[in-house]
C-alpha cells in the first residue's frame, strides 16, 4: 500500500507544481478577446444545434431526440414496457451463467453508466425546468424519459454487438464502432466518416459538458458554502484527483467515489421521500398541479407549450438517451446476447429521469417554493416574466436546495457534497468516453492515451477557473451533435436490433433461454 501512496503523492506534487502556471496562463490567455474570437468562430455551430423550430421557441435538437425516441418505441413495439420485467431479472443475475462469474455483470454495467448520467442535471436542471415550465414540465419530462428508454435500448444493444475485443481481453465499444462496422455490414457508404464525426463531437463533449461544465458548477456549489475564492484552486484540486485516478491509476479513489455516488443517489431519493411523507397530505395536490400544468401551463411563460418544451428538454439533457455515451459504458459487459445489455440499459432513463428527476420536481412543487396567486390559482411570474417567482428568489440548484431545506434544515449541506461528488463521477465517466473516441481516431497506445488524459485534466482547471460562456455553449452543442450523428445512424441500424429482438424473444418463449438456478 505504501507504494501506492508514494506514487500518489509524487504524481500529485508534480502535478500541483506544474499546473498553477498552466492555469494562470489559461486564465490570462482565455480573456475576453479569446472569448469573443471563440464565440464568433463557433457561434454558427452552437446556434445551429440549439436553433428553434421556426415560429416556436422549441430547439429542434430536443425534437430530434424525442422523435427518435418515439420512432424506436414504435419500431420495437414498446420494448421498454414489454421487457421491463425481463430487464429487472437480468440485472438481478437470474440469467447469468455461474461459469461467467467474475466478468462484468449487467448490474455493474448499468451502475457505471448511471453514475455518468445521474448528476447536476437531476438536481439543478430539474429546478430550472420546473422554475420556468411549472409543475406541468414534470409530466412531459416523465413522458420523454419513458420514450427515451427505447433509444437507450437500441444504442446499447449495438454497442455490445459491434464492440472490439482485443487479444489481451480488454474491450472498446460505442457508437463509433457500431456505426463503422454496422454500415459496412449493411453495405451502406459513409460509415467511417460518420464514425469519425461522432468521435470528434464526443471528444469535444467530453471536454465540455462532461468536464468544464461539471468543474464550473462544482466550484459554484463550493463557493456557496465557503464564500468566494478563485476557481483555479478548485480546478487544480479536482484536476489533481482526476489525474491521480485516470493517469496515476489510483483506483482506490475511483472505487471510493463509485461506492459513495450510488449511496448519495439513494440518500437523495430517500430525503425526497421524507419530504413527501412529511407533506403526505399535499401529494395528491402536487400531482394535480403536474397534470393541470401539463395541459394548461397554469400561467407559466409560454403556457402548455412552455411546460412541454422545458420537460422534454430536461429529460433529453439529463438521461442522454440517443446521445450515444451510454453505449460506450455498456459495451464492457460480458454476455453472449448483446440484446440483454439493451434490455438492462433501458432501465437507465427510468431511474435517471422517471425516478430521480421526478423526485426533485415533486419536492420543489410540494415545498411550495413556487409562488401561486391565491385568487387565480395560477403561478406568479417574476419581474422579467421569464420564470415563476420563488420564495427567496432562488433558481437552479439553489431552488432545489431551498426546497429540501424547507423540510430538512441540514440537507443543503449534504446536497452540496452530493453535487460535488456527482460532478466528480461524471468527469471520470466522460474522461473514459472521450478517451475511447480519442483512441478510435488516433489508435490505442500508452502515449496517445496519456496526451488525451493530460488535456482532459487541463480543461478541468480551465472550466473551474473561468466562466467561459461560449466555450461551455460549444461543448453542450457538441454533446447534442453526438446525438445528431448517432440517431441518424440508428435509423439505418435499427433493423439489425430488430433481428436480434425477434430471435431472442422466440428463444425466450421456447425456453431455450432460461434462468440459471444458483
Amino acid at each position: 500500500m505504501s507504494n501506492i501512496y508514494r506514487v500518489f503523492f509524487t504524481v500529485a506534487a508534480f502535478f500541483a507544481a506544474s499546473l498553477p502556471a498552466a492555469a494562470q496562463e489559461a486564465v490570462l490567455t482565455m480573456d475576453e478577446k479569446v472569448n469573443a474570437a471563440f464565440s464568433s468562430a463557433t457561434g454558427w455551430f452552437v446556434n445551429g444545434i440549439f436553433m428553434s423550430i421556426p415560429g416556436t421557441n422549441f430547439p429542434w435538437i430536443v425534437m430530434w431526440l424525442v422523435i427518435g425516441a418515439t420512432v424506436f418505441t414504435i419500431y420495437f413495439a414498446a420494448v421498454q414496457f414489454r421487457f421491463f420485467g425481463h430487464a429487472i431479472a437480468l440485472v438481478k443475475g437470474d440469467y447469468s451463467d455461474p461459469d461467467d462469474a467474475g466478468e462484468v455483470s449487467h448490474f455493474q454495467a448499468l451502475a457505471t453508466a448511471l453514475s455518468g448520467t445521474v448528476g447536476l442535471g437531476n438536481i439543478a436542471g430539474v429546478a430550472v425546468a420546473v422554475g420556468i415550465g411549472g409543475p406541468g414540465a414534470t409530466f412531459w419530462m416523465i413522458l420523454a424519459g419513458l420514450l427515451g428508454m427505447a433509444s437507450k435500448f437500441t444504442e446499447c444493444t449495438l454497442g455490445v454487438k459491434y464492440r472490439n475485443e482485443y487479444p489481451d481481453g480488454s474491450v472498446s465499444g460505442g457508437p463509433m464502432y457500431y456505426i463503422a462496422k454496422g454500415f459496412n455490414e449493411l453495405g451502406l457508404p459513409g460509415g467511417k466518416i460518420l464514425a469519425v464525426m461522432f468521435s470528434i463531437f464526443c471528444i469535444l463533449g467530453a471536454l465540455g459538458g462532461g468536464n468544464m461544465f461539471q468543474a464550473n458548477q462544482a466550484h459554484a456549489q463550493i463557493t456557496q458554502i465557503t464564500g468566494d475564492f478563485p476557481g483555479w484552486i478548485t480546478g487544480i484540486i479536482f484536476a489533481t484527483i482526476v489525474f491521480a485516478v485516470i493517469v496515476g491509476g489510483i483506483k482506490s479513489i475511483a472505487k471510493v467515489t463509485e461506492k459513495i455516488v450510488p449511496l448519495m443517489g439513494i440518500l437523495y431519493v430517500g430525503a425526497a421521500l421524507i419530504v413527501l411523507i412529511v407533506n403526505y397530505n399535499l401529494i395528491g395536490w402536487a400531482f394535480g398541479q403536474i397534470f393541470a400544468g401539463a395541459f394548461t401551463g397554469l400561467g407559466v411563460a409560454g403556457g402548455m407549450v412552455g411546460a412541454l418544451i422545458q420537460g422534454f428538454k430536461r429529460a433529453a439533457f439529463s438521461n442522454e438517451a440517443g446521445v450515444g455515451s451510454a453505449a460506450i459504458a455498456h459495451s464492457a459487459v460480458k454476455t453472449k446476447e448483446p440484446i440483454t445489455e439493451g434490455f438492462v440499459s433501458l432501465l437507465e432513463p427510468l431511474i435517471d429521469t422517471v425516478v430521480v428527476c421526478t423526485m426533485t420536481a415533486l419536492v420543489i412543487v410540494i415545498s411550495q417554493q413556487l409562488i401561486i396567486d391565491p385568487n387565480t390559482g395560477n403561478y406568479v411570474l417574476n419581474e422579467a416574466g421569464t420564470a415563476i417567482a420563488t420564495v427567496g428568489d432562488t433558481s437552479g440548484v439553489a431552488l432545489t436546495s431551498a426546497a429540501f431545506g424547507s423540510a430538512i434544515s441540514w440537507f443543503p449541506y449534504v446536497l452540496a457534497i452530493a453535487v460535488i461528488l456527482f460532478a466528480f463521477s461524471t468527469m471520470i465517466s466522460w474522461s473514459y468516453y472521450g478517451l475511447k473516441a480519442w483512441t478510435y481516431l488516433f489508435g490505442e497506445g500508452k502515449t496517445k492515451e496519456l496526451v488525451f488524459k493530460i488535456i482532459f485534466c487541463i480543461f478541468i482547471v480551465i472550466g473551474a477557473a473561468a466562466s467561459l460562456g461560449p466555450v461551455i455553449d460549444f461543448s453542450d452543442a457538441a454533446i447534442f451533435a453526438m446525438a445528431v450523428v448517432n440517431i441518424f445512424c440508428l435509423y439505418f441500424l435499427m433493423k439489425i436490433v430488430r433481428r436480434e429482438l425477434v430471435s431472442y424473444s422466440a428463444r425466450l418463449k421456447s425456453g431455450e433461454i432460461r434462468k440459471f438456478t444458483h
Binding site: V104, P262, Y432
Partner: protein, 143 residues
C-alpha cells in the same frame, strides 16, 4: 465418494489438505475436488475503465489462483496417490463452495478455520461460519 476441499490461500489450508488426505486414505475410492473461490460480487460498483479491463483481470486472477494455490495442492494430493482435480470460481466464498459441493454431489466439505479476524469478521461474519450455517452437505472445519 467425493470430498470438496475449500482453500483460501492461507497456511491453514495445508491443514485442511492434510486432514482430507488422511480421510481419503481410509476410503476405497475417493475423488478430491480442491476449490478456490475468488471473492467477488456482481453487485459491486466499478468505473468504466475497470469494466473494460475486467475480462483480462479475471483471467489473471484465475491464473494466479491456479498457479499459487490449486496446482501445488493437486500435486500434493496426487503424489499421495489420490485422485484430485481443481476448480476456481469467482463469487461469494460460502455460497460458491456450497453450490459446487451440491452440483458435484460431494458427501462432505472440508475447510480450514477462517483466519480472517477483527473488524471485517465482526461486520460480515466469516466465510467459514456462513458455510457451516448454510451448507447443504456436512462441513468439517479443520483447526
Amino acid at each position: 465418494m467425493k470430498l470438496v476441499i475449500g482453500l483460501d490461500g492461507q497456511s491453514s489450508g495445508e491443514k485442511a489438505l492434510e486432514f482430507a488426505t488422511q480421510l481419503a486414505a481410509n476410503m476405497e475410492t475417493c475423488e478430491l475436488i480442491v476449490v478456490y473461490v475468488i471473492e467477488w460480487s456482481p453487485f459491486s460498483f466499478q468505473t468504466a475503465e475497470e469494466n473494460a479491463q475486467r475480462h483480462k483481470r479475471r483471467e489473471e486472477e484465475i491464473s494466479i489462483a491456479t498457479d499459487r494455490v490449486l496446482t501445488p495442492a493437486v500435486e500434493t494430493l496426487t503424489k499421495a496417490g489420490l485422485s484430485a482435480r481443481a476448480i476456481v470460481r469467482h463469487g461469494d466464498v460460502a455460497d460458491t463452495i456450497d453450490a459446487i459441493a451440491h452440483k458435484e454431489g460431494a458427501s462432505q466439505i472440508i475447510i480450514a478455520r477462517s483466519s480472517a479476524g477483527g473488524f471485517s469478521k465482526r461486520i460480515f461474519g466469516s466465510s467459514t461460519a456462513n458455510l457451516v450455517m448454510n451448507a447443504r452437505v456436512p462441513v468439517t472445519v479443520v483447526v
